[in-house]
């Protein structure tokens, strides 16, 4: 894992000290709220319905036990004993007092953490594949490049006041777990014909009120040209992106209105026009230094299979199910990648208590070479667990309420905070998720249904990624009443697509039974148990599912 150098550490410490002064001036009345608001937003501090909310960056979703333990401490001391994982692999605390936030930032700085790039019209926290560095599917670990992008983009003077926020995601695996095609820029690491590794550059994806799937504007950019090319994209966006209308200010609108071909021409023109003096020459020594931090940890030389694991599976059906559902193959023989579900049945998706954070920190240190990942689907991952250790790990997770075997199943729902917390929301989302989890609580049934991604947003800003849910649920306000619009066919993976609205919105109480009918239809039409919901939907079309959705009465 990357460790901050003296410059990183100084930046974070100075930023915390600077914000302390800004908070003091706000509380003493030396600056107005209008003057203070952009400053607090640049430090991840939002105002929500009940309190301030502090969003803390977890670069590319990677952290170590010490950092997780600090989150637990902050949850206990400054919040209400829990935190909430976000769809940018970050954490939010929903109840922090403004007067305490300078102390929180000081505490975070002790463990190389901060709230920089979690808000405002800048390049936000770069996200990545939560299995990076552990999966055999990738051509190489993308995280050194996430870190290089982080260092390039942090406080970049030219890109600190963009038309709107800007999100970049990177993956190096064919199976896209980072939703790169619905980002402002998605980078997919590829090999060219010469066997060199570089980046496919995908631009103009995004969700919100005008969802778009990004388009490839460059099939291959060499590593040593990546930052120059990103700068060219950013400059075209900064110059031509609209600033007169915040709803049309994202790069997806510029790409859509300009046309991908013309946008690409503008980027190429900018790229070529950069004088040699402007080129960012990435010293190979620096690339090597950063890459070294992500070198594979000291794996043991183990056999492919584990007798200990097989014996435990034979004895314990619940454990066997958890292994089948939540553990994925590792590139190193004798290891597995463990997803810790933060979606126990009936609980707010993505919430973890201070105790659970402490437990996860301890388990990461003991079983996963001190690495934890946070996923954009609001779960945690222990990326490097020996197969021999899985049963012991499972038992400890189970004791902490962290062993729900539902990764990628119907109850593994992405859900925004909705009207229970959010100042922008029109409708609640957490209670809808909880009702669905309770409806489909039976794990046998979930297992039978198979992979199915439900995503719920409480407003059109789409923080709950409903546009790319196999089944998306959007809360809307209709004359003071909550209704829920259902979409079918969205997906965030390598075949990214925006879901299509099925028809009129439903009342909250009707959503679970309507989706039960949809699921029964799926079970009837699927060609075999192995045909996933999304594949069956694409094969037979939406009509049978729409009919089922509205079949009541």
């Amino acid at each position: 894992m990357y460790r901050y150098d003296e410059f990183d550490a100084q930046i974070v410490r100075e930023r915390a000290a600077q914000f302390r002064g800004q908070v003091e001036r706000r509380l003493s009345g030396d600056i107005t709220e209008d003057q203070f608001k952009p400053l607090r937003l640049m430090n991840g501090v939002y105002l929500q319905l009940h309190a301030y909310m502090l969003r803390i960056a977890i670069p590319y979703g990677t952290l170590r036990g010490e950092q997780m333990r600090k989150f637990a401490h902050i949850a206990r001391k400054y919040d209400k004993g829990y935190g909430h994982w976000t769809t940018r692999q970050n954490i939010q605390f929903n109840w922090v007092a403004l007067k305490d936030i300078p102390d929180v930032l000081d505490e975070l700085a002790e463990v190389e953490m901060h709230a920089i790039q979690t808000s405002g019209n800048c390049i936000r926290n770069t996200t990545s594949d939560q299995f990076a560095g552990a999966t055999a599917e990738e051509i190489e670990d993308p995280r050194p490049w996430c870190e290089i992008i982080r260092q390039w983009s942090t406080f970049h003077p030219e890109f600190s006041f963009l038309p709107r926020k800007f999100k970049i995601a990177v993956t190096a695996a064919e199976n896209d777990r980072a939703a790169i095609r619905v980002h402002d820029i998605g980078l997919h690491m590829r090999r060219n014909d010469a066997g060199e590794t570089g980046f496919e550059v995908i631009v103009g994806g995004g969700q919100g009120r005008t969802p778009h799937v990004g388009v490839t504007i460059k099939p291959f950019v060499a590593k040593d040209q990546l930052l120059d090319y990103l700068e060219a994209v950013m400059r075209v966006y900064n110059r031509f992106g609209r600033r007169d209308n915040k709803y049309k200010a994202r790069i997806k609108i510029l790409v859509s209105e300009t046309g991908a071909e013309e946008f690409t021409r503008l980027v190429d023109e900018e790229f070529e026009a950069q004088r040699d003096a402007e080129k960012i020459v990435l010293p190979q020594a620096e690339v090597d230094r950063i890459t070294q931090y992500f070198a594979p940890p000291a794996f043991e030389d183990l056999p492919d299979t584990s007798d200990v694991l097989e014996a435990a599976k034979a004895k314990d059906d619940a454990f066997a199910r958890w292994v089948r559902v939540n553990v994925r193959p590792h590139k190193q023989a004798g290891y597995g990648i463990v997803t810790i579900s933060c979606k126990p049945i009936g609980a707010p998706p993505g919430d973890v208590t201070d105790t659970q954070m402490d437990v996860t920190a301890d388990l990461a240190e003991r079983y996963s070479l001190d690495e934890i990942r946070i996923t954009h689907e609001q779960n945690m991952v222990l990326p490097h667990v020996k197969l021999d250790d899985l049963f012991d790990l499972y038992q400890e997770l189970d004791s902490a309420g962290l062993a729900t075997a539902n990764y990628e199943l119907i109850s593994d729902i992405i859900c925004c905070p909705g009207l229970d917390y959010c100042n922008l929301a029109n409708a609640r989302s957490i209670p809808v998720a909880q009702d669905l989890q309770n409806t489909f609580a039976d794990l046998e049934r979930q297992d039978d249904i198979g992979e199915l991604k439900i995503k719920i947003s409480g407003c059109i800003n789409a923080c709950g990624h409903h546009h790319v849910g196999h089944i998306g649920i959007l809360g809307v306000d209709r004359k003071g009443e909550e209704f829920y619009q259902i979409t079918f066919g969205g997906r965030a993976d390598e075949k990214a697509a925006i879901g299509q609205i099925a028809g009129p919105g439903l009342r909250a109480e009707d959503v679970p039974s309507a989706l039960e009918r949809v699921i029964e239809t799926y079970r009837e039409v699927r060609s075999s148990k192995d045909e996933r919901f999304i594949d069956a939907l694409e094969r037979v079309g939406h009509d049978p599912f729409k009919e089922a959705l509205y079949a009541a009465g």
């Binding site: 709220e33 105002l47 319905l49 007092a97 909880q434």
Partner: protein
């Protein structure tokens, strides 16, 4: 303004609501131009009195932020199009009921 809320007719009863600067807690303006976390303490205002109350709130930046008028009945009960949102602000999230203001004794259960 963080909260751009629907405009309300002059003759509708209202209270002034905002957030406490230091803590971010939801607060309501009282008759003596102070602020309470309990909506039951709020002064119900109508017409020009509501305009004056809001103006006073907007000048109270040291204590509160983003004040706005919200609709209530003549008895001060939350009502109108934003009933759900304002009930959630007044009492707490419908999830996490352990964090309700009533659990802290700020409002009656």
């Amino acid at each position: 303004m963080t909260s751009v809320r629907p405009k309300l007719k002059a003759d509708i009863p209202k209270v002034i609501t905002a957030w406490d600067v230091a803590t971010g807690a939801t607060v309501y303006q009282t008759a003596d131009r102070n602020w309470s976390e309990n909506i039951a303490d709020a002064e119900v205002v109508v017409g020009e009195a509501a305009d004056a109350a809001l103006e006073a709130a907007q000048g109270d930046e040291l204590r509160i932020l983003d004040p706005y008028v919200m609709e209530v009945t003549a008895d001060g009960e939350v009502t109108g199009r934003e009933t759900l949102r304002e009930t959630i602000r007044a009492t707490g999230p419908t999830t996490h009921t352990e964090f309700h203001k009533a659990a802290r004794g700020v409002v009656d259960a």
